[in-house]
Symmetry: D4
Subunit: 220 residues, 8 copies
Amino acid sequence: MSDLVMDWARQARTGVPEAVLCASKSAAQIEAALAAAEEAGHSLLLTRLAEPLFASLSPATRQRLDYDSLSATAFYGEVPNPAAAIAGVGIVAAGTSDLPVAREAARTLAFCGYASPVIADVGVAGLWRLLDRMSDIAAFRVIIAVAGMEGALFSVLGGLVAAPVIAVPTSVGYGVGAGGTLALHSALGSCAPGVVAVNIDNGFGAAAAAIKLLRAGARS
Amino acid sequence: MSDLVMDWARQARTGVPEAVLCASKSAAQIEAALAAAEEAGHSLLLTRLAEPLFASLSPATRQRLDYDSLSATAFYGEVPNPAAAIAGVGIVAAGTSDLPVAREAARTLAFCGYASPVIADVGVAGLWRLLDRMSDIAAFRVIIAVAGMEGALFSVLGGLVAAPVIAVPTSVGYGVGAGGTLALHSALGSCAPGVVAVNIDNGFGAAAAAIKLLRAGARS
Amino acid sequence: MSDLVMDWARQARTGVPEAVLCASKSAAQIEAALAAAEEAGHSLLLTRLAEPLFASLSPATRQRLDYDSLSATAFYGEVPNPAAAIAGVGIVAAGTSDLPVAREAARTLAFCGYASPVIADVGVAGLWRLLDRMSDIAAFRVIIAVAGMEGALFSVLGGLVAAPVIAVPTSVGYGVGAGGTLALHSALGSCAPGVVAVNIDNGFGAAAAAIKLLRAGARS
Amino acid sequence: MSDLVMDWARQARTGVPEAVLCASKSAAQIEAALAAAEEAGHSLLLTRLAEPLFASLSPATRQRLDYDSLSATAFYGEVPNPAAAIAGVGIVAAGTSDLPVAREAARTLAFCGYASPVIADVGVAGLWRLLDRMSDIAAFRVIIAVAGMEGALFSVLGGLVAAPVIAVPTSVGYGVGAGGTLALHSALGSCAPGVVAVNIDNGFGAAAAAIKLLRAGARS
Amino acid sequence: MSDLVMDWARQARTGVPEAVLCASKSAAQIEAALAAAEEAGHSLLLTRLAEPLFASLSPATRQRLDYDSLSATAFYGEVPNPAAAIAGVGIVAAGTSDLPVAREAARTLAFCGYASPVIADVGVAGLWRLLDRMSDIAAFRVIIAVAGMEGALFSVLGGLVAAPVIAVPTSVGYGVGAGGTLALHSALGSCAPGVVAVNIDNGFGAAAAAIKLLRAGARS
Amino acid sequence: MSDLVMDWARQARTGVPEAVLCASKSAAQIEAALAAAEEAGHSLLLTRLAEPLFASLSPATRQRLDYDSLSATAFYGEVPNPAAAIAGVGIVAAGTSDLPVAREAARTLAFCGYASPVIADVGVAGLWRLLDRMSDIAAFRVIIAVAGMEGALFSVLGGLVAAPVIAVPTSVGYGVGAGGTLALHSALGSCAPGVVAVNIDNGFGAAAAAIKLLRAGARS
Amino acid sequence: MSDLVMDWARQARTGVPEAVLCASKSAAQIEAALAAAEEAGHSLLLTRLAEPLFASLSPATRQRLDYDSLSATAFYGEVPNPAAAIAGVGIVAAGTSDLPVAREAARTLAFCGYASPVIADVGVAGLWRLLDRMSDIAAFRVIIAVAGMEGALFSVLGGLVAAPVIAVPTSVGYGVGAGGTLALHSALGSCAPGVVAVNIDNGFGAAAAAIKLLRAGARS
Amino acid sequence: MSDLVMDWARQARTGVPEAVLCASKSAAQIEAALAAAEEAGHSLLLTRLAEPLFASLSPATRQRLDYDSLSATAFYGEVPNPAAAIAGVGIVAAGTSDLPVAREAARTLAFCGYASPVIADVGVAGLWRLLDRMSDIAAFRVIIAVAGMEGALFSVLGGLVAAPVIAVPTSVGYGVGAGGTLALHSALGSCAPGVVAVNIDNGFGAAAAAIKLLRAGARS
């Protein structure tokens, strides 16, 4: 535990809370982070906590976590009341395979007190599915767009809306689309100005950016 | 010239005529190919004949060529009468920067006796531009789609039309889009089934495929 | 299930039916898609349904599917009578390791009412194997060629036949050939005009393109 | 000119005006776009108009453009009064070699009526240079960070400020840093949440995102 | 065993002892190396000896090894007394996920008689964590810096200290940061002069370089 | 000149003479190598001596060189009498654009006293061109095959002949074939056993390997 | 079995026998190949037959195979008497981790009647190990060199011997050396002329090339 | 000039002086840096100042610089007396094409008061050239090794000497060796422990590391 230096002041400093990316950590390291949170009296968000890793935590720990297996996220401690969540962010996902990443963004936003409705299965292969939902989508102040494969959704959406679009490429795909690089490059190389990107599968980062962005608006 | 083995029977065998890709050839090698065509009494299509290379040919040769600088193509010999051109192929180009490649396809088709109207500047950043032209586009039996950058046009088009879409990625773009790999991968990784791809900037190949395809239809 | 938006009109609009790529979906998501198909009274094609995933479906579901393990595809609902299948497409596979992908194409074609004889094990390392079968191959109106490793089959075939060749590179290979990129690039960089490519291992996409192509011929 | 379809409604629809990326266009195509702007009574922003291309425009055209060679941008027509520019965006550049890209962002913002002070030469190899300027930087509502080479600036800045950071990787660098991919990946792979990225050298895109973002704040 | 040629003279010749990289070896090959060490009366360092491979060794062998599972290293035979370890090297690790690699370096140094305190969890996303420890870090004569993801630590550290910085990129990360190439390139492309790099996850190599370097100082 | 250490004994030691790769050398460095050859009384082969670099040499030097511009090679000093050249090697080139590399191999062989007839323009897009020449090709003891683009020639040839095939991929091609990596990988990933490869455009290396190989045969 | 077309004439035509690469084949496909061999009265070489796949064959089949687990190869049918093996080929392996690939080459040679002593653990990190064995190595007419990681062995060996060197890069390594591309490129980019390469881990191909090469010598 | 923030304290802080990498700067920016140096009374090292850029500086500026065209470096102001240079560093270069980079390192060392003899043309294709010089090389306390192509020199040297080896890969090479990535990876993936690497062509960085390293020794 002596190796662990939690950055509890991050939320005050940058607007985004400390979180623990569990993917390359041991159960012991995760338990240590939770103990530190308990000692400091802080809530803590855990991401990339895959089911086998979650199952390897102690029963006592598991019981104290609000775990969501689709997004592989967990909440420790007090979390803002959803009824009082701040509106403004919307999440648009191309396919059902992109939902784990979309949910990671939504859970991160919820942990910070923001609501984020998810509009799913609106990939551009059936353009009408997206066009049918445009009036809902146009109402968001910030849009998180989640897509894998060739990521054409990012450009189409970026050309249709006034809101900034935060693109989250996903690793859903095969062949030239495997691993998410194609979707990422489609977001970055988009012919529609105003699209920005985060790392592949980084729903957490997209949520963090959306929060900073809404707060920037509120600071004026 | 002894190194040169022209494949004059190719058109009979495969439906696509012999053509000379001039990019990595010397002026002498191109003159030799034209001499062989003259001797055999064949027409000949020259592609990737950039202006400096064209200018390095003998004046006599230049005069006998029907040269188009935008597409860097030239016709030698008799070419089918445009008034009698076979309809069915349409070319859709995302931006004005994609026109050289679109024109290479159109010129190849013209050399073989096919008409191919070009619908340009319908990139998806302004989706209405494409939707406005859909009734024209839907009338084509085969569509050649030409786009660079993130190539989102391929997926959007593929999801809207019944005709097969032959995607020609172009090397137009910068950063992650430089060189055309992104547009190529977008075509291949498209979520819209029925999109096929040729090599980057390969307008000639797309035309060849379109011709084979129309002939396949005619063989039934 | 509310996240699922099936595109039942796709077949009417584009000639290719809605299908479910199962690879990155959960058993629950697949069951939901089948329930939607049942409710809508539609047949449904499932692809990339690997055996472990198939085994994780409910026994009732499994019984209602016509499952083929080699191609990892399943049919739900009514499928056209093979006896009345439309001819014209032929599938040529380089090696026995390429058969799963060749079969995915054949099964997709069968689901849509098209016959597609498979000619296998005709890789160019033993050129006579291919030349022996050329009279059969030359009779097809559209050819789907399936090959991994260095994909030399695409160029050899493209130079011999009048029919359009839809190349499906496979991920069969090792070292520089691993993952299918080499075979894909061989198809795209082919010196034989008229070869078009789909994504690596994308037998479904090749079948979709072949169908669009035959229908284009029929529209004249 | 018939190939040109200007998207004059883009500004109303998305908050970002139509602009012409000149890099892969001919002088004739650029003159045509300017003629269209004149006819429509619109201003027009030209980007990636390198000096040789600018010099190839007609003298009359050149005289009507407000050209800036460092950023390779030009303004045509009426531009907002700088004295009335909207504040909120700040640009932070790692080195003097990054200034062309930083200036492209600043010029785009100026064309749209936004002020954007540039703080330059604050790369992290001399961390004190950045720390000395932090009080100025912390006052911005949105930060555009511009850096090439290893792009460590993005992570350091992202960890220090509450404002969203739009990272613009530049192609400044050599060896493993050549072309800007390293700086791009450093932005995307940053351990500091809330950093978003645009394409390499895309100062225009960063400005467009910053504008959308400030407008999102104003819509609340 | 006849295939095995141990280089026992390496330590005398180059200052770094023979070691066995176990990752791609069989249990039998490892036992043979240990038998050779026993016969020659040498100690032996084993690296990349993952737990399953360690478990596959004979009980007798396992008992004779000083095994550390976090770093996957083992010592065979006599090892220098830690109480007499030579000071001068310090190890700085960005995150807790980088500790296995940091520990491989520390264990290699200990095997050779050098002390190497580890300062962990000082990634630049919370810059104050690093700045708080700078007085300790500045006292080291040689610094081994261990970081994954975007590796911004290397540049920040390189700009702050007089000691040479040996960067060990780790394979910790995802998306563009997966596999460690991004962190490696950040070290190599660093704007801070005096940073040198070893291969990804190569804690052993960094320790070997640090030893050679301290010995170079001692030779003057 | 003191920096230059010519390896005159290489021919005796390895069968292949010292040669100077001129591409990244200055005119002064090349003149120094020739002076060293003169002093030592040796002949010298110069490769990659492009015309502008050749033109920058002193007139006296140019006069003493037997220069061939197509292959960018030059001979200095005595060269074996072509009339007495040793037979056994044949060179097969796919297209006329591959001739510079084929000629580099032929010139290197001539410099060492070997004859090497070139059979050109037998790419597999017109398979009959290759099959027509097979009786000539089958007579060679060693075959150097030269091809760019997708390099299908290597596999077709490798499957037809008993002789070893040394593949020389060329950088002729565009899009996915640009730079020669595709042709190189096609040679390495070939399904025809017995094909070996040298570096892209390395006609010299192929000739060196062919010489070693013929000498190996002669040593029995 | 109808999909299987064995090329029994390959040995007569090219000097290298038909072999079955088992890696991507099913147990049923392998059994079918063996049945075809039995029916034709031919021996058969199986490569890349990993232990789990071997174990999945029927007991009767397993009993009829001469299986070697280190190289994952199996012989079916009559094999030449080792006592009468033809000499001339030597195999040099850099490390013990490269032995599986070295053994694949040796087993292929044995199947065809050639002897091939293996000299192992002579990597260049301890150059004396290689120099100590040079008199043995210099006696071979053809050398197969097997190395992973940075593959420096290929260049050192190529500069020392008169025999042609067939380089087999192996996938042994990590970080930048993972997968074998680095070792492959070191062989191809070698500064020592006369080194040729086969695909990564392709011991079979190296043996096939060595056989063709020795036969070429014997044809003079 | 207001954009320029020189880090004059760097030498005191890190042991390596401020230097200006000129490659992507304008003549005006370079003149501004020199003016700042003059004002501050500091010497200044300019690197990557190619001849055309040097020629574009004002005559007065050119006269005040000690310019070396081979290394493209220039000294401004007082430089340590070579007669009093500190010994300990040696530079070993594989070929004459690597001399510009070797010289950049030597010039940087000279600017800082260190001597660095260069031993050139000792590539491993003629191993005796290197072995002949080993007694000189073994006397250095720190070795900077400079090599392009396959960079085998790094491993051979690393296995022979006790001194730390700082590898500088160069961009000398073609095909798979083009750009220097192969040489870089050979250094990083070396089987000889104690080799560290800097960026491609980064002679300045190697010199900076060597200085830090010698100073580390002196601090004991």
